[in-house]
Symmetry: C2
Amino acid sequence: MLSMRPIGRVRSPYTTTLEVPKGLGAKHQVEGTLEIDPEFEPGLQDVEGFSHLYVIWSFDRSEGYELVGAPPTDSRPHGVFATRSPRRPNPIGLTVVEVLGREGRLVRVRGVDMLDGTPILDIKPYLTSVPSEHLRRGWLAEAEARDAAKPE
Amino acid sequence: MLSMRPIGRVRSPYTTTLEVPKGLGAKHQVEGTLEIDPEFEPGLQDVEGFSHLYVIWSFDRSEGYELVGAPPTDSRPHGVFATRSPRRPNPIGLTVVEVLGREGRLVRVRGVDMLDGTPILDIKPYLTSVPSEHLRRGWLAEAEARDAAKPE
């Protein structure tokens, strides 16, 4: 068994799962805030240089799991690992959000699909596969540019 | 605190972190296997319809964390949430892998950057932003096609 603890909470306009858009063509354009606990604030240094972040979080209002079930996007059943169902063996959620700005331990983002108060477990830079015209890679792009400019 | 348990293990050619390509321009083309525990095999139904999967795993050979540090890609320090450092408050790893095939509870994949024996916590379909010519969306594309073909 592994123990995880929240590093902060999501602030979202959604308070029940019924409010979160689901199913085919659902768009997540809602703004929210990643409110990181004060002790972890130093870990946010430079996240604002990325256009997008992965947020790894916990489905804290989901109970139990179902290995095969029909998601809202289909009437046919699928394995839970082929869906984004909240009823998973480990209730881990994953959302790609767009960074709007940071003020200290508060990261304003677009694209939340979590409920208000959702525990955040981790944040990582999103590096792959956003269409390049929309991608900013923060300090990594700067580091690459410095690397390329080095004399041989 | 939240308790998580492994749903399986990664089989990878890497046995030490020194072998895993890191830094600017590192390519992860190595093949490996997601070996899911027998009790969770039904949850894999239809994962083979997706071109790519997210694998959420645990840095089980990492100890402690560092909120600010210099990654192998840069000599300058950054917050841990702006890097993929293994030394994180919650030691969660995230890898996008390409699906090569599935035989029962074994999913063959390309793109592993985990060590052999790494505990897997979750698997999810990768739906966003792989260039569309490389993306297959499995049952979701079929469900959308059926939905579009419905009489009004």
